[in-house]
């Protein structure tokens, strides 16, 4: 295991052959492809592009691989107790399984070792420039890209290299979404975003308010129930809290048995309600709000413990926060509570700070690009995004197939330009397509995908690209 920065690195110090638009020297990297980020998505991009015969330079701002799953990274959102949400078969790369000896839902440290082994097994590190940050990506002539980098933290000179294609794999769980509230500045207690929450010791003996019921908020509320002197959990709607096991198996495996049989959504929703009735029953009797949506219409929560601790009275469900006072928090039902620590588990927003928002058709510049298959940009056939999906399952399988598709598209550009052109047309026609059943409107749901719908769409795209 190594996180050093001096692995046999590629040398983009090719001969400066051109000048960029503002006159900086640009080294031409020929047919090489640039990958931004060496998290799970970046690693699978390198592996699959190499497997299809392409040269790759990957830039990673941190000093190791694994992205979000590398707890040493300053932007890593994982906390000590993070375990997978989706069971192993849904989470591992489809061609590199996790060991049989691991549990159904491995711990985040196992995920890191998994990505490190993936990198070593396929000899990916020699293609990665660690400690190097991409600060600008600009379209160049001939559908090529000028990529400007510098040492992370802004040290050292900037360097611009020109690539045949770019894969953006910078992750979407590192830039905190922090809601604004009246009076927040005057609040005398401690506030933090969940991204800074690492360890239950931070909660010990305190009166804690957790805001938000994504998986992060639920995990932290459960830990607060055990560590804090008091725990309130504020949500702006009711949710469906799914257990990690049902009917004797990991819940996602049971659900996929139904998906494989193409059991309709309505029937699956009914089955879900029925299993809930057999276990925890109606949650409103605990003071939890009634969900304002059906099962599967918000990003799934997999947490067997939240309801349990609500049942113990250790988590007090409360409504949305209305405003902050210096020593109290006012809730939308008029109640006031007095937490010492408020944790906003309100999620993250995608950000592409190195790319002009217009390239992505993100006219509002809010990190919501208009893409086909959440990966392909109209008018930019040599640009792909990896991992910009919020699946109801593991993400890595999806990133893997996105990159297989992109690699084959790049091959088609060389060998079958007609097919590549037809693909580009489909990207233009179908950008913005969604791959999930109806979901609740929320900043986190625009890139929600159902893994089965999504992978079927990728499979069709591959067939259309390569079929007879």
């Amino acid at each position: 295991m190594s996180t050093s920065t001096d692995h046999g690195r590629p040398d983009p110090e090719a001969t400066p052959s051109a000048l960029s638009r503002d006159g900086r020297p640009v080294s031409d990297r020929g047919d090489t492809i640039c990958v931004i980020g060496a998290g799970a998505s970046g690693l699978t991009a390198i592996k699959n592009l190499r497997e299809h015969g392409f040269g790759v330079d990957c830039y990673e701002r941190e000093t190791g691989v694994g992205g979000a799953w590398n707890w040493r990274h300053d932007r890593s959102p994982v906390y000590a107790s993070t375990h997978l949400l989706s069971s192993k078969p849904f989470t591992q790369f489809p061609d590199f399984p996790m060991p049989d000896s691991w549990p159904d839902y491995p711990h985040h440290s196992q995920l890191l070792s998994y990505f490190e082994r993936y990198a070593d097994h396929f000899d990916l590190r020699s293609h990665i420039w660690f400690g190097t940050e991409v600060i600008r990506v600009e379209p160049a002539a001939g559908e090529r890209w000028d990529v400007t980098t510098r040492s992370t933290g802004g040290y050292g000179p900037e360097r611009t290299s020109q690539y045949a294609a770019v894969v953006v794999a910078n992750g979407h769980n590192w830039s905190p979404k922090l809601p604004r509230y009246e009076g927040l500045e005057q609040f005398r207690g401690e506030i933090m975003h969940a991204s800074s929450y690492k360890d239950p010791a931070q909660l010990r003996g305190k009166r804690v308010l957790v805001v938000g019921a994504g998986n992060t908020g639920c995990d932290i509320a459960v830990e607060a129930a055990q560590q804090a002197s008091r725990c309130w959990h504020s949500t702006r709607r009711g949710y469906w809290y799914a257990p990690k096991y049902v009917l004797g198996r990991p819940a996602d495996q049971v659900n996929d048995s139904l998906l494989a049989l193409r059991v309709p959504l309505r029937v699956r929703q009914w089955l879900y309600h029925w299993t809930l009735r057999l276990t925890v029953g109606d949650l409103t009797r605990f003071g939890l709000p009634r969900p304002d949506h059906r099962v599967y219409e918000t990003h799934p929560i997999a947490n067997s413990q939240l309801v349990y601790y609500v049942g113990h009275g250790a988590i007090g469900p409360v409504p949305d926060v209305a405003r902050f006072h210096p020593y109290a928090v006012e809730l939308t039902d008029g109640r006031e509570i007095d937490p010492e620590l408020v944790i906003f588990a309100t999620g993250y927003l995608p950000r592409f700070e190195f790319l002009d928002a217009s390239v992505f058709g993100d006219s509002a510049g809010v990190g919501r690009p208009t893409l086909w298959l959440n990966a392909f940009t109209p008018g930019h056939p040599t640009l792909a995004v990896a991992g910009l999906v919020q699946p109801d399952s593991g993400l890595f399988t999806l990133s893997h197939w996105q990159m297989v598709l992109f690699a084959r598209l790049l091959q088609a550009r060389r060998d079958r330009p007609d097919r590549a052109a037809a693909f580009a047309q489909r990207v233009r026609d179908r950008a913005g397509e969604r791959y999930s059943a109806q979901v609740k409107e929320s900043s986190r749901h625009w890139f929600e995908v159902g893994h089965a719908d999504y992978l079927r769409a990728v499979q069709r795209a591959l067939h259309d690209l390569e079929g007879k």
């Binding site: 061609d95 049989d100 070593d120 097994h121 048995s257 494989a260 591959l462």
Partner: protein, 273 residues
């Protein structure tokens, strides 16, 4: 091109019904000096265990600088008993062991182990693969086996053990005592896996387009030369032939020739990418 479009992304059954974990035997021989060669993973055929490779090939590969590993499929050798094992479970075993090796591996399958490797190649991007005297199933193989060894083969058709005879496995050059010693170690594959040899659909295409070498003996009494040709054609090549040897090339008297040919090929072979 057509093989590529068969690529299957949706694997609902595999996701929702993962193969049960099983303890597996893995033997190894590693070179004294790490020379950056890819690791080899030997996969024995039905009835055989890792021991079949530990006899000669493991040590020989290591002596030529290749880290070499041999595994026993579940229910074989010193791996966990698994009477109900399916072909899919065997392929799972191979992928598990391969992915656990430090670097991208070369898969070497013998006999029905070659069929297991062909299935594993659809789930693991091997650096390259070698199919030794591949038993890819079908009625032809059954016919040949029934003709040559009716009493050993017939019970297998009804779910009993398959018993291979000395004449099928070894040439006359191999001393009797040695042949007896090997035959005494033979076990049996799961009933479901044996039946799969007759009816199972073909393996999905290999991922990562690895180069594949096929080799065998024209005097193999289990795998006719026509099968060697057919399998090799599937992977776009012709088989390497070692006349005068029995089915168990890794145990037969002249075991060194095929393994040297494999290692020579690996040294010259263009990388998978």
């Amino acid at each position: 091109m057509s093989a590529r479009s068969e690529l299957r992304i949706m694997r609902g059954r595999e996701w929702s019904r993962p193969v049960r974990a099983a303890r597996r035997e893995v033997l190894s021989a590693t070179p004294e000096l790490e020379e950056g060669r890819p690791p080899l993973l030997f996969v024995p055929g039905f009835g055989h265990g890792a021991w079949a490779f530990a006899e000669h090939w493991l040590g020989h590969a290591a002596s030529r600088g290749f880290p070499a590993y041999a595994m026993s499929l579940r229910g074989h050798g010193a791996s966990e008993p698994a009477p109900e094992a399916s072909l899919r479970a065997y392929a799972h075993d191979v992928v598990q062991v391969a992915a656990g090796l430090p670097r991208q591996a070369v898969l070497v399958g013998h006999g029905a182990g070659a069929l297991v490797v062909a299935h594993a190649l659809a789930r693991y991007p091997a650096r390259s693969a070698v199919l030794v005297a591949p038993v890819f199933g079908g009625w032809g193989v059954l016919g040949a086996a029934l003709r040559r060894n009716p009493s050993g083969t017939l019970p297998a058709v009804f779910g009993g053990p398959l018993r291979l005879s000395r004449g099928q496995l070894f040439s006359r050059e191999l001393p009797d005592a040695e042949a007896r010693r090997h035959i005494a170690r033979l076990g049996r594959a799961g009933r479901r896996a044996q039946w799969a040899l007759l009816g199972e659909p073909e393996a999905e295409p290999a991922v990562g387009a690895p180069p594949v070498l096929v080799l065998g003996s024209p005097d193999d009494r289990v795998v006719p030369t026509s099968t060697l040709n057919r399998v090799a054609r599937r992977y776009g090549s012709a088989p390497l032939l070692f006349p005068g040897m029995g089915h168990d090339l890794m145990l037969d008297a002249r075991w060194a020739e095929p393994i040297d040919a494999i290692l020579d090929w690996l040294e010259k072979e263009p990388a998978a990418h």
